[in-house]
């Protein structure tokens, strides 16, 4: 998979007998999956011009221009849909896509490596960076605040952290 492709949804199967598909969206706002069309498969070789028809439980009924029959729709079951990173709109300062933060190296203010970002989580309070610490079998959650994470350098792929005491 190319690193600039982001998984935004998946095809759950056919819907009805007229070549419509059931698509699950992974976007923050599920309807936004349509704005990233044309989407591609994992390799980027095949593209899908997707149009949402109506919402259903756990996804949307969609029409893909390249799919005309139920048999073709059935064959696509399980296919993940990818958008290119450059299709995502630009964000204001201090706002980042989860996909951009993942795999960034984390250093403390003294330059000591702390680990690597494994995921970004939000449990209702502030966003949290889940950091994989080398040599440890548990991950550490770092609050994604200006105080705890003063610098995010996406071009250098590194984060400078000032973690609260007792976290690492």
């Amino acid at each position: 998979m190319s690193s600039d492709l982001i998984c935004v949804g998946s095809i759950s199967g056919a819907y009805g007998v007229h070549g419509e598909l059931r698509v699950k969206s992974f976007c923050a706002n599920p309807e936004d999956i349509e704005t990233y069309a044309p989407l591609s498969d994992e390799t980027g070789a095949r593209t899908f011009s997707l149009a949402l028809i109506r919402p259903i439980k756990n996804g949307f009924v969609t029409r893909i221009a390249e799919v005309a029959t139920k048999e073709e729709a059935d064959a696509l079951k399980g296919t993940q849909l990818f958008a290119r990173r450059d299709q995502l709109p630009n964000l204001p300062d201090d706002e980042y896509y989860h996909t951009d933060l993942m795999d960034l190296e984390v250093f403390d203010t003294g330059g000591t490596p702390l680990g690597r970002v494994k995921s970004v989580q939000n449990h209702g309070a502030a966003d949290l960076l889940e950091i994989l610490v080398p040599g440890a079998n548990q991950t550490v959650l770092l609050p994604f605040t200006l105080q705890a994470v003063p610098t995010v350098d996406l071009s250098a792929r590194r984060i400078i952290a000032n973690p609260p005491e007792g976290l690492f």
Partner: protein, 92 residues
């Protein structure tokens, strides 16, 4: 049935003591607590609590909107990663 108003909000006493000690020291630290049942009080705003979820302490930065909720609501006991897709994180 909801809790009687005359009793006031429930908070484990050790949580109050730890929060007070942390506020007085002025240190940037995570206050580790195991009491998921304690109510978030106005004096906790601005502090960071590490709320135990049965496995580890989840950092919870207390803000004004969280007053009156329980700490456990911000420390899920089950993990679901999902997909990053176009989800955003904001530094506050």
């Amino acid at each position: 049935m909801s809790r009687s108003v005359w009793k006031g909000p429930f908070v484990d006493s050790y949580v109050l003591k730890k929060a007070e000690a942390s506020r007085e020291s002025g240190r940037n630290e995570v206050i580790k607590i195991w009491s998921r049942r304690s109510t978030i009080l106005p004096q906790f705003v601005g502090l960071t609590f590490g709320v135990y979820n049965g496995q580890k302490h989840i950092p919870v930065n207390v803000t004004e909107e969280m007053i009156g909720q329980k700490f456990g609501e911000y420390s899920p006991t089950r993990t679901y990663y999902g997909h990053a897709a176009d989800k955003k994180a904001k530094r506050k």
